[in-house]
Amino acid sequence: MTTTASTVAARTAAADPVGDPSFGWRRRIAYVVLIGYALLMFVPFAWSVLTSFKTLPDSVSGSILPSPWTGEGWQFALTKLNPPIPTMLFNSALIAGVVTVTNLVLGSLAGYAFARLHFPGREALFVIVLATLMMPDQLRLVPVYLMLHAVGLTAGVGQYVGVMLISAVVGTSIFLIRQYFLTIPRELEEAARIDGAGFVTTFAKVMLPLAGPALAAVAILTFQGTWNAFFWPLILLQDPGHYTLPIGLLFFRFAGGMQNDWPPLMATVVMATVPILVLYVFFQRYFVAGIAATGIKG
């Protein structure tokens, strides 16, 4: 690691026209800061993994590696929680999966319409889309609950539907896809239209295949956001059998009061994090691109 840093430093120092002698040192310090901060990002997660394999006394003893290694924490988390973790994993995956699909379908249709089709009231409707991003979710807690309750979506399978409806197509998805469509040259679809293709065909056959990167970013951000969602699942999933992992984790922690049983809690933390971690490792650039794109609004 030191060699890498110093060779880079040497190379850039040589290329530096001013030839500032402090330049190499500055660069070295920069790398120390960069690597130190990166470690700060990873160490807590590593700690949760290690702790999940410890016994309770060992988990607060300050030892780094588990002694002895034990699977009891995992066994407890997987079998003793209500609902069982596999049920919560299923609930999380079901809700996140459906919401990702609805955001892709509805978001790309609307994103295309707002980018390309001309119809009266388009700008006003788009302002509404953006306004939904400004509105605090909590303001809607009571009305949304009452409305969903009135149509029977706060009991049984309806609870899933309620959570899905709330995030079926979020403003960010429409916005991201619209911005992407705006960058695609008009000539492509005009050629299709001259050949007599209708709006639906032009959208599905010509434009949608070009929107891959935007769709990937929306899919990943939506899946991650829904998998991690806390507020609406907490309000709308009343019956433990329908809990997602974050909600189960909250009640698991509350159940212990101040006597937290750390190893199984950490095993649950690991299980809640690993699916998103895997996505992140493989699709890191879409995460970064998606977040960056929301940052270049307008």
Partner: protein, 323 residues
């Protein structure tokens, strides 16, 4: 098939399109409306409708089963505003916002500037710094509760490296219960959220940094400007749109602090309401007290606070948001 047809058509096609314009336009309208109708209906009901509904509910004494009982006017609002717990919640949310927003923006900007240099492993560092933001608030907060527990690793490490005298200056015990102590609970949440969100702000700032033309830096280098001068006189001022965007997003998010407060301090934001926030108060009013009308009033107040904060920022930065 497409190519020859297209090649034969141009002059005639243009005439045909003009003559069929009204019908084509109508079809385009129809397609446009069909493409946006589902989201618009959802927003009409779940956003606009629920906002109007929230205002309505907040003006009544509300029965859980039967709905409106008696018109109260602004009584629910008066009850909320005069409640000492709500005042504590507002104070806590404002404290969190005032400390957390500049702190996290500063870290995010610092990281963005370093990562934007020509360094090896640029992609890796960007990905690493954004990493904590991918995990759920429930998982991260539980993990932090463990790390900052009295017998947690944070206290043990500072004991081992011998910095406890330094902490003692601030009245912090060797086995400090960080999240369970009234004096340190909120600051611990601030540190937690600065850690998780600094990477997100870094990405926002990177997007903004890359919009600054490199010629400006070249000109500054020719004039012999040092690193600090370049930052202070060029980068920082030119990032104004970036500052505005990040600050707006940050303040809106900060005023809605909830997950970490509930997970760390339970429904009352223990200890002694140290973690009570506006949204936790709203949640508690609705879910624990089952007072829907009062909770709706809190929601409207929160909305007004957020709108005011956004407008103030707009004034401060002297710029309209892009939206």
């Amino acid at each position: 098939m497409a190519a020859p047809a297209g090649a034969r058509r141009p002059p005639g096609a243009r005439r045909r399109r003009v003559s069929s314009e009204p019908r084509a336009t109508k079809r385009e309208w129809l397609a446009g409306y069909l493409f946006v109708i589902v989201p618009m209906l959802l927003y009409l009901v779940l956003n606009i409708g629920s906002m109007v509904y929230a205002v309505y509910i907040s003006l009544w004494r509300w029965n859980l089963r039967t709905g409106p009982v008696r018109f109260l006017g602004l009584d629910n609002y008066a009850n909320v505003i005069t409640d000492p717990v709500f005042q504590k919640a507002v104070a806590n949310s404002l404290y969190y916002t005032i400390v957390w927003v500049p702190l996290t923006m500063a870290i995010g900007l610092f990281l963005a500037i370093i990562v934007n240099q020509k360094i090896r492993g640029q992609t890796f560092f960007r990905a690493a710094y954004y990493f904590p933001a991918i995990a759920s608030s429930a998982a991260i907060t539980t993990l932090w509760l463990f790390i900052f527990a009295p017998d947690g690793i944070f206290n043990q490490v500072r004991g081992v490296i011998g910095v406890n005298p330094l902490f003692a200056l601030f009245g912090i015990a060797p086995n400090q219960n960080w999240i369970g102590n009234e004096g340190t609970a909120m600051n611990t949440v601030i540190a937690l959220n600065a850690w998780t969100t600094s990477g997100t702000f870094m990405l926002f700032y990177l997007a903004s940094l890359q919009s600054i033309p490199s010629e400006i830096y070249e000109a500054a280098a020719i004039d012999g400007a040092g690193a600090w001068d370049t930052f202070r006189r060029i980068t920082f001022p030119l990032l104004k749109p970036g500052h505005f965007f990040v600050a707006t997003v940050a303040v809106i998010g900060a005023l809605q602090l909830f997950d970490q407060a509930l997970i760390g301090g339970g429904v009352n934001g223990d200890p002694n309401n140290a973690l009570m926030t506006i949204v936790l108060y709203l949640y508690n009013t609705a879910i624990t007290e089952l007072n829907f009308a009062k909770a709706s009033a809190v929601g409207i107040i929160l909305f007004i606070v957020i709108m005011t904060a956004t407008l103030i920022q707009r004034r401060l930065f002297g710029q309209a948001p892009a939206w």
